[in-house]
């Protein structure tokens, strides 16, 4: 169970260009951090480095008290630009699959769908959903299979005002339950959060 995230002097190089170096962050249970910076400053790469998908050029990512392998295997959710959804499958098939894949059950998938007002859409193919609806479907994973650390890449951008507020409440509840959130954003997060700015 992840209770803290620690980045020390992290540096990431992509395609020969040094995106940033010397980035440090301490995040503990119940805290959120908004990751800001201009386009191309490395926000997405930083999130992917925390998830272990990108190898940093220097520095380290640690989850104090937990083996890194274990933390990345079952302790974190990554919601990226792409939602990981197959257009030809129904919303329910995709939600149910990812829920089971992340260690949840069909019951928890139903409950998560309720929380994001997805039930009327579940029988539709993913290709019929709007960008905001798809994002809600992806965000439902967070609730369907609880994991402590949420890595969110511009989670709010396709959502309308009502669902931004709703997701704000969901994030608050997650933090109160001892969760951690690291979110790359352009608009301020609707919750109290630390901030980390990448200069670009």
């Amino acid at each position: 169970m992840i209770t803290a995230l620690s980045l020390r002097n992290l540096a990431i190089r992509r395609g020969g260009r040094l995106l940033f170096e010397g980035v440090s962050l301490e995040l503990s249970a119940g805290e959120a951090c908004a990751l800001t910076g201009p386009n191309g400053s490395g926000k997405t790469s930083l999130l992917r480095a925390v998830a272990g998908l990108v190898r940093p050029e220097g520095g380290e990512v640690a989850f104090p008290g937990v083996e890194t392998e274990e933390a990345r295997g079952a302790g974190l959710h990554l919601i990226g630009h792409q939602d990981g959804l197959k257009p030809a499958r129904t919303a329910w098939e995709e939600l149910a699959f990812w829920t089971v894949w992340c260690g949840g059950s069909e019951t928890s998938a139903r409950a998560a769908a309720e929380a994001l007002e997805l039930p009327p859409l579940l029988e539709l193919e993913v290709r019929r959903l709007s960008a905001g609806q798809r994002r809600r479907l992806a965000l439902a994973r967070l609730l369907a299979a609880p994991r402590p650390l949420w890595l969110l890449d511009e989670p709010l951008s396709p959502l309308d005002a009502r669902f931004r507020a709703r997701f704000g409440e969901i994030m608050v509840a997650h933090l109160q339950g001892g969760g951690l959130i690291l979110a790359a954003v352009h608009d301020p997060l609707p919750i109290r959060a630390k901030s980390l700015e990448l200069a670009g």
Binding site: L53, V54, R72, G73, H77, G80, K86, R89, C102
Partner: protein, 221 residues
């Protein structure tokens, strides 16, 4: 376990729909098998002599068809990221993906192979061995093909690259399977060649997933 069960169901249904699915694969197979006699000439003896070999090579080509999509779509839509973030090792995930590919395209091709070979003039007594070779060889094609598909992730015209990587690796199973069929057709012992085909398949199933997982991790980072 429920996780892998869910994955194999998903992979099989996705492979079933991928690029038109088994109908297109089997259709392509039937097309190649029909074109061959037109080029070779219609004499029965000449056709019968090449029937099993032709059916076998056409099978190898047909199993290339939907390979490029094996990892490509999951890579593009972010699903591969999520598959990596799991307690299930990526090696096992890759193996299950190949298994899904085999169920959805290899098995229908294995059913079509004896029909095509007999249609070309092979003896009906060969049908069970053709089926067995196609089923076993198909498994090798899926796992070896998966390596090519993973290596060409992110490349432009990945499908072509996959074919170029994979076709040389198809050589041993094509030789062993063709050898077994040829031996049986001429009344010689075929077991040795069949055993070699099985050995190659076992190696592909055992080692392929390691290569696929490494190639996927490399493509993601």
């Amino acid at each position: 376990m429920s996780r892998l069960g869910a994955l194999i169901r998903r992979e099989t249904t996705l492979a079933w729909g991928r690029g038109g699915g088994p109908l297109v694969t089997v259709g392509f197979y039937a097309g190649v098998a029909t074109l061959l006699p037109l080029a070779i000439g219609p004499e029965r003896e000449r056709l019968a002599a090449v029937a099993t070999g032709a059916a076998w090579v056409a099978l190898a080509l047909a199993s290339l068809l939907s390979l490029e999509r094996l990892f490509e779509r999951d890579y593009e839509d972010g699903a591969l990221d999520l598959m990596t973030l799991s307690e299930t090792p990526l090696e096992l995930t890759s193996a299950v993906k190949c298994l899904g590919q085999w169920i959805a395209t290899g098995a229908p091709l294995a059913l079509a192979a004896p029909v095509a070979a007999i249609g070309l003039g092979a003896s009906a007594a060969l049908a069970p061995l053709i089926f067995a070779c196609a089923l076993l060889g198909g498994l090798a094609f899926a796992f070896v093909g998966g390596i090519g598909a993973a290596l060409s992730l992110g490349a432009r015209r990945g499908g072509l690259l996959t074919a170029v990587i994979v076709l040389p690796l198809f050589t041993p199973p094509v030789i062993f399977g063709g050898g077994a069929l040829d031996a049986m057709a001429s009344g010689l012992p075929w077991q040795a060649a069949f055993a070699l085909l099985a050995a190659y398949t076992a190696a592909a199933v055992a080692l392929g997933p390691l290569a696929m997982a490494a190639a996927c991790r490399n493509a993601l980072s």
